[in-house]
């Protein structure tokens, strides 16, 4: 032990810092990967039971090793690069989708002290990172040199730009009640039981955020970018093996991120609904997140895919006016200091 300590002290300050940050980010990312793996398993099981099937049940007890079987299969598959595709961009595209999806986790607080980077402009940072993911989709669609992939990319670009605005406005609402861009402080403002959580004064904005979150992650019923019955698999039609797996990983990590942000910003994060009876704990945050994660799967099992023009209509003509209207209502409420939330 002494030997290890002396080695650690011998290292340069910057090296120490790099190792320390690396270990810290691994403690967030490794559990995230495992949750993503079992999220895919949960998805197949849940949708299976909803459709009175059994879902995967062959690999391991109750099919529990299925995600690993899938992972090893994808790892050993050949990465096929289409002729006349843009080789570098084709390989870079999954990485560009993956990196912001992981980077966004840097500012997520898990309780009042457990956060990788406690920055002031956390909310803005999250918005910026989630808006970068679309580049992977667009570049993948273009670099594949395939008509289906390009169609998927075009659909995705228009959809994400449309819903990002509604999403941003919904977050402006959160900012107005909380008076801070720091995610930890936003949760702190909701302290004092379930009646103080932001979903009560911001109910319309919560629904707008949830819907645009589903749209931003390209999940059903907004999965026109993939749309397997129309354009085969959309932007990732030419991808195989690990390159495909990385797209998949980013999509599921983004779903978990949106679920966690919903519980942090509207449902009090790690705060207990009745602080007099039960203590605040990180378990609350994970429990709330799990409920929203289940919603993502439930949507997929329940709703048929939106038609493209209906998606555009919903984004621009329904969600955006709702958010702007509610911001005006909130402005009035803040001015007159109404209720326990705006006082």
């Amino acid at each position: 032990m002494d030997f290890l300590t002396s080695i650690w002290e011998w290292l340069h300050e910057y090296v120490q810092y790099t190792i320390f940050s690396g270990v810290k980010s691994l403690t967030i990312l490794l559990p995230l990967f495992i949750i993503v793996a079992y999220y895919t398993y949960a998805e197949r099981k849940v949708i299976g039971y909803m459709q009175t099937r059994k879902g995967p049940n062959r690999v391991g007890p109750k099919g529990l090793f299925q995600p690993f079987a899938d992972m090893f299969k994808l790892m050993f598959k050949e990465i096929i690069i289409p002729t006349n595709s843009n080789r570098y961009l084709f390989i870079i595209a999954p990485v560009i989708t993956f990196a912001p999806a992981m980077a966004a986790w840097a500012v997520i607080p898990f309780n009042d002290t457990l956060v990788f980077s406690n920055i002031n402009a956390g909310l803005l940072y999250i918005l910026a990172m989630t808006s970068l993911g679309v580049y992977g989709v667009i570049i993948a669609g273009w670099a594949s040199n395939s008509k289906y992939a390009l169609l998927g990319a075009m659909r995705s670009a228009a959809q994400i730009v449309a819903y990002e605005i509604a999403m941003g406005f919904a977050l402006v609402g959160v900012l107005m009640v909380a008076g801070s861009l720091n995610l930890g402080e936003i949760v702190g403002q909701q302290a004092g039981g379930i009646s103080r959580w932001f979903f009560i004064p911001l109910l319309p904005l919560f629904f707008v955020y949830l819907i645009s979150g589903v749209a931003e992650t390209n999940r059903a019923p907004f999965d026109v970018a993939e749309g397997e019955s129309e354009i085969v698999a959309g932007f990732h039609v030419e991808y195989s093996g690990m390159t495909f797996a990385v797209f998949f990983l980013a999509e599921y990590a983004n779903m978990i991120l949106i679920a966690m942000l919903c519980s942090l910003m509207f449902f009090g994060g790690w705060l207990s609904p009745v602080p007099e009876l039960v203590d605040d704990s990180i378990g609350w945050l994970f429990g709330k997140t799990a409920v929203f994660m289940l919603l993502f799967l439930w949507f997929r099992a329940t709703f048929p895919r939106y038609r493209y023009d209906q998606i555009m209509r919903l984004g621009w003509k329904v969600l955006l006016p709702v958010t702007i209207l509610w911001l005006v209502v909130e402005g009035v409420a803040v001015y007159f200091e109404i209720g326990p939330w705006f006082a």
């Binding site: 002031n120 402009a121 910026a128 808006s131 580049y135 730009v161 941003g168």
Partner: protein
């Protein structure tokens, strides 16, 4: 020390990618290099403790404006040979614009307005919020300029929409609100048929 290293790495990346924007042949590559330029300049702004501007640059320009740019560029049928023909023709004009911009920038940077005599800038404390400071100034000291800018943007939006909004006679439109209002009774008629008797 480490700040200096970060500055030079990203400054070099900015200059290289900005040069690539105007030199690469493929317009999609050029647009992607422009994205990289925005991103690296955002990092440089971040190192100046201007985190709001840095994130807004990524959010607005990288996350929205450039997506639409690339969207359009990808749709174009690009003839690279024809693009290169124009290079020599537009070179004098381009040089003229560049010279004027250089002159303007030099005159601004060397003027008294921008010469700071406050000495070495001090780093702000950890709880300093750049966003809050910017908001405070924008909505008090510069509120009229801010609102005028907002009105100009609104006018630009309306102008852009009215330029592109035209009804073509031969295009068929769907009305989603009418489609949503359709109920089963409007489309489906259930006919009662008595079952035939068994002989």
């Amino acid at each position: 020390m480490i700040e200096t290293v970060i500055f030079y790495v990203f400054a070099v990346a900015t200059v290289v990618s900005a040069t690539a924007v105007v030199t690469v042949r493929n317009p999609v590559h050029a647009a992607l290099f422009l994205v990289l330029t925005f991103f690296t300049s955002a990092v440089i702004w971040m190192s100046l403790e201007a985190e709001f501007l840095a994130i807004a640059l990524v959010l607005v320009y990288v996350g929205a404006v450039m997506v639409l740019f690339i969207f359009v560029v990808m749709m174009l049928d690009i003839n690279i040979a024809r693009l290169r023909e124009g290079f020599v023709r537009y070179l004098p004009l381009g040089l003229l614009v560049a010279a004027i911009m250089l002159g303007l920038m030099l005159s601004v940077v060397t003027s008294d307005v921008f010469v700071l005599d406050t000495g070495e800038p001090l780093p702000k404390p950890a709880d300093y919020s750049n966003t809050k400071a910017l908001g405070g100034v924008l909505y008090t000291d510069y509120v009229f300029a801010f609102e005028i800018a907002a009105v100009i943007l609104l006018v630009a939006i309306i102008a852009a929409i009215s330029l592109t909004m035209r009804k073509r006679a031969q295009t068929k439109y769907q009305n989603p609100s009418l489609q949503n209002k359709v109920r089963k009774a409007d489309r489906l008629r259930i006919v009662k048929m008595p079952s035939e008797e068994k002989e």
